[in-house]
């Protein structure tokens, strides 16, 4: 048989699909366009996916996981403090071309999920896991005195979560050269989480 890595080929397809979704929109993701983007025949697609919907889902997962991975890699494992947040959050925002593409796909996923129950369920579960993780981290920081206890860990999580989603949506609509600056206030907000100096 010809040597091909099935999983890696699937990922190629997913990445190409994600690229189309990001640049032309979900409705432009046709099997023809995708085959062209991949430089192969349309028949190839059915080797790796049973239907177009499967491809769409794979593209969504591909982009979603890359954003998450990017953030995980930015997490400093040892002795986290307020400063640790900055790189993680930067990693989670669409500040360069690569993450811009991924966020465009993720935003499509959010809309898609609104009317696709399975995706909606998956989305909600993923969010909940993420929130639990983050709440735990913040509570840890609070206990170590790195973060103010004036706001509950849950509320900080909620703020961060919604803010990142809202800002990401906002950023992908802006030219790249305005994004860093637009994201700046977020860092100021983080600063406000420092505990007040004890009198």
């Amino acid at each position: 048989m010809r040597k091909v890595d099935h999983d890696s080929r699937r990922e190629d397809v997913a990445a190409a699909a994600a690229s189309l979704i990001a640049n032309k929109g979900l409705e432009a993701l046709t099997t023809r366009a995708l085959a062209k983007e991949l430089g192969c025949s349309i028949g190839v697609l059915s080797h790796y996916f049973h239907s177009k919907e499967e491809i769409v889902i794979a593209a969504f997962r591909w982009a979603d996981q890359r954003i998450d991975l990017r953030m995980q890699e930015a997490i400093a494992d040892d002795s986290p403090n307020i400063e640790s947040f900055f790189p993680v959050i930067k990693a989670g925002l669409p500040l360069d071309a690569e993450s811009d593409l991924e966020w465009r796909v993720r935003l499509n996923l959010h809309t898609f999920a609104l009317t696709h129950d399975t995706s909606l369920q998956a989305e909600r579960e993923k969010n909940q896991q993420f929130r639990d993780l983050m709440t735990g981290m913040i509570a840890g920081l609070q206990n170590k005195g790195h973060v103010t206890k004036e706001v509950s860990a849950e509320d900080i999580t909620s703020i961060a979560f919604d803010l990142v989603n809202g800002m990401a949506k906002n950023l992908v609509m802006c030219p790249f050269d305005e994004r860093e600056q637009k994201a700046e206030y977020l860092y100021k907000l983080i600063e406000m989480l420092r505990p007040l100096p004890k009198p």
Copy 2:
């Protein structure tokens, strides 16, 4: 007279289209489905709109404007203070069935705009207008001592803007009975805008 009828008919179509978008997704908005939703023949649509894209845009505008209108109506014209924010923000969030539908459409619009330049431009201009308006209002409140000056009016606007967008996206994914509670932290955040009592 005839003009009124014509416009009101166009709005009916837009509303029906919005309903379909919200409940079934943009890809489920077909001319047949729309005619069925409206209880009329497909031929009618071409009397009021030249193409399907026009209908989509009209649905987007319809929903968008209703959210904005809802917020404007909640604005207390005279002597605004921190408390004035609460009803406005509530009015701007998808907390009931009606606003839920509108937000679902708006979220579709956001995704749509990512790959449709005209809509993107319109979206950005609208946002800018809204931000300018809000920044002005907050600066006024700051001058009157109702809002802390520790954070700039621009930053408060940015926070509010992104937060509402992120939260709205979040809320439409939740059951209605969890929404009020999920939105609660926003009100706490507003409380933090109060100026510190002078020592």
Copy 3:
């Protein structure tokens, strides 16, 4: 609206489909070929049928009912006797071009039903009704002394039923000019049903 009789249009489609099935086989019944046969565009088909399978079923029913109708019309209502059988059976056999087409479709249906439960069920029910009807008729003739009681009405029905099916299959494989002759023995067989003259 354009004046069209929906049901009659459906029948046109079914008839055209039946013609294709009879002449080219079920696998040659494509939407393209059918549209061509009908002299219309492929889109028309979806106005009258939701799927190709529906069309296939309609074609089967069309042919099936025409054979049955042909037989019913040949039934002499009043005072039936042995002679009454001849025209009915002739009407039920593929002896001319029209009934040949219908039988070809019916034979396709029989094969189709083997692996399509719904059709199989329908086929069996129809057969049972037909058998019950025929058994009743024969019993009546037996009581009136027109038909021998040496063979039970049920057995005569079974013989007739299987014989007609087998013979029809046989006849459609023959040139038309051989068919009448091939069917002749059936009439002889019917003669044997006459009761023996009482000694």
Copy 4:
């Protein structure tokens, strides 16, 4: 040696194809499904057959010959009489699972032949041979006084031939436990072939 392997492999393919045709229908016989049924890769098929049509024909022949073989084996070579018919006819009907499968394939073949001239020709020739053989046998029995001369050998052959085809089609549509009983009348019919006792 190698030739044997080759032929046996071809038969495996034909048998697997026949199984698919019988259980899922001719349209379900795809190269992929066949490879799966065989437990091998699709590439194998092209080693043993040049095209799918060849495989279909082979499957038809496989089933057809097995029915014929089954009947031949049931023929009592020496001193045949009326009783000799019973086991032959039973062997020729789809009364158990094995012959059921073969008859399902044969019925597919009959339909297939309607629109495939080569198969039709083959079918007709085979039938004619069979009829000639049977007519000869019956004439022999008539001469020996085992079978009535009231009906010509040709007519008896025709009756038997059509009856078996019709009944087979009938039986494969019934549950197995009803088949023996449904076939019973055939044996009664054979009894009627006995010559009348001379007065």
